[in-house]
């Protein structure tokens, strides 16, 4: 039994006393405790593969920041790795794949991921659930198929993701085959996370915004829909398609419980377009660089615009590593103390 189930009630559209709050990348470099735990692993990939360390950093922000949910510490790129395409994390640069998908032939080397290969994540979830002891819900997550494909083709982050998009335009049939394999892998993986105890799952379409609407509807939406169809009967599903401002109505149409919004989206416009879906977001992470008075005013303005019901407070993107922890905490405290 959960002692604090605000997140799940908000996700299901049930009445809440106040808006729950958590922060994307809340386990991370804004906390010195994270850096201490991180230093015990040889490298980032080993860190992700250590359930005890993952459990530790997952719980840190619950203790330190007082957020209303934990999100399992992991990386969306565990899926390509489990499909046969390993990655490295280069300090201050981001992910890097020694091998990438260049053509249809490269799909021969890949397979649908077996969740057993990802048991370091499900083990971490089991440990974390036990440690949390019902204090707050635990969120599981995965990358959206298009975003995962974009890394598998591009091999790293990119300003334009033009190689990944070239793949869609130049060889749509192969792109769909790969998206299908990623989707099957992701559904099995998220189901395993729910089996292990995840109370809600979030799907991150981090690079949705480089697609236009037609490409999104062709190469992303159908696969997100399959994931929602598979998971929504079990737990609430959150879809976060960053920068895909044109997609809010389409995302609501999948039947997901929650839509994540970045800070360029207008709360009132999204309420109009998705009136029966819970909204999550959407403060600019850079607001937390402002003065304390400006942070409080910004958070309060956002809460007032979203309203108390069907709302989960968050940022519109992950925390940046150089933010001050006291200001992050001030944001959380402001949300929790808001006089609804």
């Amino acid at each position: 039994m959960l002692k604090n189930d605000l997140l799940l009630r908000a996700a299901r559209g049930e009445a809440v006393e106040r808006a729950p709050v958590w922060l994307m990348r809340q386990a991370g470099r804004v906390l010195t405790e994270y850096k201490a735990t991180r230093s015990r692993a040889k490298n980032f990939v080993e860190f992700v593969k250590s359930p005890d360390l993952a459990c530790e950093v997952t719980i840190q922000p619950v203790d330190i920041l007082g957020v209303d949910a934990a999100i399992i510490f992991s990386d969306i790129l565990v899926i390509p790795e489990a499909m046969g395409l390993p990655y490295e994390m280069i300090e201050a640069k981001g992910p890097w794949f020694p091998e990438t998908v260049k053509s249809a032939g490269d799909l021969q080397k890949l397979h649908v991921a077996d969740p057993y290969q990802l048991r370091y994540v499900t083990d971490a979830i089991r440990m974390t659930k036990k440690e949390l002891d019902g204090r707050v819900p635990l969120i599981g997550f995965a990358g959206a198929p298009w975003t995962i494909l974009s890394y598998m083709v591009e091999g790293s982050g990119s300003k334009t993701f033009s190689k990944a998009k070239q793949f869609l335009y130049a060889d749509p049939a192969t792109a769909h085959r790969l998206l299908d394999m990623i989707t099957e892998s992701t559904i099995a993986y998220l189901n395993a996370q729910v089996d292990a105890g995840a109370d809600l799952v979030q799907v991150f379409d981090s690079w949705a915004g480089v697609l236009g609407e037609a490409q999104f509807r062709t190469f992303s939406l159908p696969y997100l829909t399959r994931i929602v169809d598979a998971l929504a009967p079990r737990v609430p599903v959150t879809l976060f398609a960053k920068d895909a401002h044109y997609a809010i109505g389409a995302l609501a149409g999948t039947g997901c419980s929650v839509i994540g919004l970045d800070w360029t989206m207008s709360p009132s416009h999204c309420r109009e377009v998705a009136p029966n879906t819970t909204l999550q977001g959407n403060a600019d992470p850079c607001l937390l660089y402002a003065s304390e008075a400006a942070i409080v005013a910004g958070a309060q303005a956002m809460l007032s615009e979203f309203g108390k019901q069907r709302y989960i407070c968050n940022l519109g993107h992950g925390l940046y590593p150089d933010l001050e922890r006291t200001k992050v905490k001030l944001f959380v405290d402001t949300v929790k103390a808001y006089p609804w």
Copy 2:
């Protein structure tokens, strides 16, 4: 007298027989001729400062691709340089500033740019106008104040521009002072471009999309408005605020003649929000990686959605360097041959 004034008529909302077409970054690495000219300069910054070379690459796409406008070859970062903050262009990386603006004190070292310092651009415009001999109009351009500030603070490109945004949130008064200096510099510079013969000027707010709507209205829009107020009595002004999907109505409100759109924007939605402004754009540059049939179909679908009047055909972003020139030409030819 211009032999082909389609661009200017479309910009002014006058009747045209067909939509004019040009392409952002049409002078560039998709043309081997560009690479040949480029190799005659010691480095990129020297290339930009050589009026004869700039003139040559400005005219190449008119000859080779048959576009309906030339755009003077230059770089938006000539303004920071003329204000006292020089830049370098690092191959395959992008611009880099050895010194950046970190605090109010750093503004002491800067000054409003004198257009005389930028006479290599106005000389290039004069040479190009002469060489073009009225075949097509010549577009001048500058970066938007927010985008220029973001480079001056960040020192290079960035995924999040969080340092530049931190500057806005943490020290808004200094940010406004710097934006004011950039705006004064830009107005003088664009006026000098018009004096030299530019027939239309475009202002590129390349990083508008990292701002939320409130920040855009505070730190970008007022300065764009000042530029439009100063230039619009002389020539049509195009505003291109990339990824600022929330800003179309506000941009129309400045009284600019043309709004540039990226490929995430819906033509019909933008027509509704800005019914009396010419729209420019907005094909995904990656469409040009597709098969010839898909390129033709994509271009035709776009033309049909925008309609013939108050429309300037373009991409939603610059050409990518690895696009095939035959496919770029096919796109231009498709637009020019469209049976309106």
